[in-house]
Amino acid sequence: MTLRLDVLLAILGMALATYLCRAGGYALFRAFRPPRYVEVTLQHLPGPLFVAYVAPTLASQGAKGFLAAVVVVAAQAVTGSLVAAILAGVAAMWGLGLVI
């Protein structure tokens, strides 16, 4: 049951950043109407954000990673279930690990 100082600081930094988004967004958007391009950029953020995380991570795992990612996307598109998609991805990664 350790609580290291560096870990606590990182957690508090994350908590502060997240609270700024939750409460600061409300306070700021109420006081000032944000410029249109800020609003539209925020609407466009989720897709590029996940892509920008996934791309280098998959690249570091080679062909196996990209093939498993295709399986995940297909499973999510067909079933609409996040759980099924994650399980399919892990299963694909395990299966590909046997052959590649």
């Binding site: 049951m1 609580l3 560096d6 870990v7 606590l8 600081l9 990182a10 957690i11 508090l12 930094g13 994350m14 908590a15 502060l16 950043a17 997240t18 609270y19 988004c21 939750r22 409460a23 967004g25 409300y26 958007f29 109420r30 391009y37 609003e39 539209v40 950029t41 925020l42 609407q43 466009h44 953020l45 989720p46 897709g47 590029p48 954000l49 996940f50 892509v51 920008a52 995380y53 996934v54 791309a55 280098p56 991570t57 990673g65 498993a68 990612a69 995940v72 996307v73 499973a75 999510q76 598109a77 996040l82 998609a85 994650i86 399919a88 991805g89 892990v90 990664m93 395990w94 690990g97």
Partner: protein
Amino acid sequence: MSGGGVTFTSAGVLRGMQVGIPLVIGTFPFGLVVGVISGAKGLSLLETLVMSGVVFAGASQLLALELWTDPAPVLAASLAALVVNLRLAPMGAALAPWLDRLRGWKLWGTLATLVDHSYAFSIAEIRRGGRDAGYLLGVALILWMFWMVAVGLGHVLGAVVQLPPGHPLYFAAVATFCALLVPVWQGVRRDLLPWILAAAVSLGAWEIGLGAPWPLLAGALSGAALGAWMELRRR
């Protein structure tokens, strides 16, 4: 919406908790994954629970953990949380019909619990004419409780099984974000070019050896900026 007559009662909180229970089916496995990954990255059970309790935003926790190093990456983790959770900023503004009528902890405390699900349910409730803002807190509270249980359970199970590094199960974290891309996709015209740019910029930044979170930030912001530019130009 006049905003008049907005209340904040414990009955409203309880009703929010009740309607939020089915949502746990979706968030519980996600919490398990966060718990397992957290343990694998060397965080203790206490550290894992503190993070989940005060951050309470699954995608940003998972992403920060993926960037985790020893000693803990204070700047990288904070920036990752900021970028992933920026999407929450406009949600508070959209809930103004309720939030503008609240004061003190009811306002700033409820905002601390804001998550995608409680936002979506509350917007629907406002449109139905709902006037009890306790509903917003209630939906988030029930999710928070089960989030803590799921993350703690994941951490304990991960410690029992003792997975070696590179085990296929760790692919669950990346798989989560790949799967999240599917409902976010709104069509070739809107998303294809911004997503390609995001991938190219993040891969380029990674290839030249930039450490976390810079490939992520550069890719996310350039892609979102291109998407916004294309959308505004079409009008």
